[in-house]
Symmetry: C2
Subunit: 493 residues, 2 copies
């Protein structure tokens, strides 16, 4: 374990990499652009999955599984979608290896195993799923179809960063089919709300809900909704998207249904997804110079217990009390781990679990035992207190709620402090370049202005907020032309 | 929904396909050899996953995630493993598509995106994982490493069958690293026990635990342990394997550790896995001519409630009572669904849920309501009874236990009835060809005899049982040479 630490202020990007490494979350693999998600990182992702899966099921969705590969001819069918992903696809061309005649022990693709049609490793699954839905849908009675899939996808990336941008990543993708446009839009918005609720209540990250501009839409969507969070460098991270796909995929794959009136119509579609990128958001929003900070609701270990002892006799006494404590806490539904490794000293353990972001640390020594008390340290504020053992479980339950709330409030305050209403170009540049935050500005609605601003400042329109708190009309911060609504500009990941 | 039914006796293979289709479990996709797992099938797989995952965690394992792709140079390193899987690998050679100059809207792999080193889509992950373990292991203090991964893998298959043999399948693969040979063998055997317990207690399928012969071992293993179940055609299905890998992968990837005495030694390894193939076993062991039968412990819907009514007024009354019933059952931890679709008649619903294998069906009509009773039908025995509503939840709890047990006992009896001790070649042929079961026979221990028997009869040695119930020595059923132990011969999937 590396204990060398980079400060957030000194080098934000190095600080991020440092935390991912020191907290044992993930690492680069031998495959360019692909990561290994290590047990501590994967356990947090599993907590996210469990909660999201519950929310998807509560809103009526079922899980299913579709193939990893998309035949090229299907991939091509929805043209915009194909164009959007063609530049970054892994392509399977052969299905067998044979010994390399020129290299002992070496293997080469067997030329005789060349596929007549190449297979694309799914970058997203609309094509293969809508080709399947075609056979599932005849009448309005077959609708809606509400499906979700947990899967890996591949988008070939040249410049990768652990969790934030990797060639292979894990995600869920919802795919739904509806009889009416209205119903599909309601679904799109519902799932955006699910993502926002998950982000705020479980990840403790406040988000802005909005729509993407035409430039930033998902390839093949009529409308892309998103949630945007603010990281601790003032940049935005797109944390989830929900797409209203109109009838684009139904038309590309000829998926029609007979409506109640007996007429044939194309089916309406949505798709929506979040990925292991959320791990990047979690790390960047809550961590500090000591390491990761996990919100209690997503911690697979909420409380770590460390015995303090000199002799083996002391160890036995202290450890047996910790076991009692742990059983009591587990009964209350708290996830507890006792770190009773004898091969490491308490100081080392304190540092390790601090880096790993465990919300609460308990330390118990012989003197505490004599006093019937225990030391309770919270990771977020780094404060310690002595708590009576008889009151421990209620204390911890309250503490976990308090930490979760504190993390959210802290993130909200940070976001609000860097969230500026700007009214002219000078203020815009000041926010983007000096204050480094979100510039809430009027925009004339043209792609030209959006592109020009992006080229000049690297700031993009993160979203057109759904909740227009500044309902007044105004003038574009750049062109001066009329504008009906403010939008959110920021640099982003 | 197709209601046409094939009888098990008439055509076993068609009967299987028919159940997979009618129960809405899975279907073939547009990608040769790859399947779509439909919601009802996936929900059963999820129940399996949850239980297995719990058992893996209880035995100290953590989940992690490793890349989908294996660089060819790593794939080659463990020679036997590479040789074993080279013939059935999907190979990625390009990472970009560009417009096809000869076909409007068409795409072709960009020749400029050809990879300098091909990537193999993982058929199994030993290579990529041991290449990673190399960096995780320096000293005995880093051991053991106990990892599991839930993932998709690809093994190119020409002759595929839904769940049983598909080019892409879902599985879990455990990979562990140990300081001593003894510890690794204990782990290998422990995980075999976990699989056997899962199969018998949750899938209600009795299994034989054993070791594979050298011919049938996993490519790269020193020893392969397996569990073998018997299907309703008397054939064997390998349901799970646990491999003692010796130091083969440690040597191939140069993974050494410093032991307590300060000496360097190669690390000892195991790997173990079960896959969506278990769905095939579940279907083949318990289904009947009416369709699927799900053991209650793996049913995501254990009880389906169907309202019987003529008028909307009756519907309201009956349905509101069913809601009460459902809440009461849910409180007891039972998974309940009310099928209140007005677009289908009760008879249709009965048939649908019967095909889908739901363990218990409740039907409630106005007359039942007047009598404060309800009709309870069990899927396994197809019996019905009238139960007092006040005693329903206890009745159902007992019933679910009884169904689970009955399915196991039935499968055990079937297996035992087709499990024959044979003492000469004539009896052997009779069991394999006429009685169609398992032949428990003496074998001389040579690959030659094993191969000859396979070529003559299609029967293979499924395993050398761990529990040698027939401890006597004897003479090989084929060659007459001395034999120390009986082994299990059968035709297999």
């Amino acid at each position: 374990m590396a204990f060398e630490k980079v400060k957030r202020e000194d080098n934000y990007s190095e600080w991020y990499n440092n935390i991912v490494e020191n907290a044992d979350l993930a690492e680069h693999s031998a495959v360019k652009g692909c990561m290994v998600i290590k047990p501590h990182g994967y356990a947090i992702w599993e907590k996210m999955q469990q909660q999201l899966d519950k929310m998807f099921k509560e809103t009526g969705h079922s899980n299913a599984y579709f193939p990893l590969f998309v035949p090229k001819s299907l991939f091509e069918k929805e043209e915009k979608n194909a164009e959007g992903f063609a530049k970054e696809c892994a392509i399977v061309t052969h299905y067998r290896l044979i010994p390399d005649p020129n290299r002992k022990g070496g293997l080469i693709p067997d030329p005789d195993s060349k596929l007549t049609e190449e297979l694309v490793v799914r970058p997203t699954s609309e094509a293969i799923i809508w080709n399947t839905f075609k056979n599932w849908i005849q009448s309005y009675r077959d609708l809606p179809i509400l499906i979700n899939q947990w899967a890996n996808v591949v988008r070939w990336e040249m410049r990768t960063r652990l969790f934030l941008r990797t060639a292979e990543f894990l995600w869920q993708e919802g795919h739904t089919a509806h009889a009416t446009k209205e119903e599909a839009i309601i679904e799109t918005e519902q799932m955006l709300d699910v993502y926002a609720e998950f982000s705020e209540e479980f990840m403790a990250i406040p988000v802005i809900k909005g729509k993407k501009t035409a430039n930033e839409r998902f390839a093949g969507a009529d409308e892309t909704y998103c949630i945007e969070g603010m990281m601790q460098d003032g940049k935005a991270l797109q944390m989830g998207t929900s797409h209203f796909l109109g009838q684009n995929f139904a038309k590309a794959f000829d998926v029609k249904f007979q409506n109640k009136e007996g007429k044939l119509d194309f089916v309406w579609a949505t798709s929506w997804g979040v990925s292991t990128r959320l791990m990047g958001a979690l790390i960047m929003v809550h961590s500090d110079d000591e390491g990761l900070v996990i919100p209690p609701k997503l911690a697979h270990i909420q409380v770590v217990c460390i015995p303090i002892y000199k002799s083996m006799e002391e160890f036995e006494l202290v450890n047996s009390k910790l076991k009692e404590v742990s059983i009591e806490l587990k009964k209350k539904g708290i996830f507890v781990k006792i770190d009773d490794r004898d091969s490491y000293k308490p100081g080392y353990k304190f540092a390790e679990w601090e880096q790993k972001g465990i919300p609460v640390r308990l330390a118990l020594g012989p003197r505490d035992l004599a006093n019937n008390s225990i030391e309770v340290a919270r990771r977020d504020l780094k404060t310690k207190e002595i708590v009576d053992l008889s009151k421990l479980s209620d204390h911890i339950l309250n503490l976990l709620v308090d930490i979760q709330d504190n993390l959210y409030q802290k993130a909200l305050k940070y976001r609000n402090d860097k969230y500026f209403l700007v009214s002219n170009w000078e203020e815009f540049l000041d926010v983007i370049n000096i204050k480094k935050g979100f510039a809430i500005a009027h925009w004339d609605g043209t792609s030209e202005t959006e592109e020009t601003i992006k080229n000049m400042t690297k700031a993009t329109i993160r979203c057109i907020p759904l909740k227009d708190e500044y309902g007044e009309t105004g003038n574009c911060v750049f062109s001066g032309k009329p504008s009906t609504q403010r939008v959110v500009f920021a640099k982003s990941y």
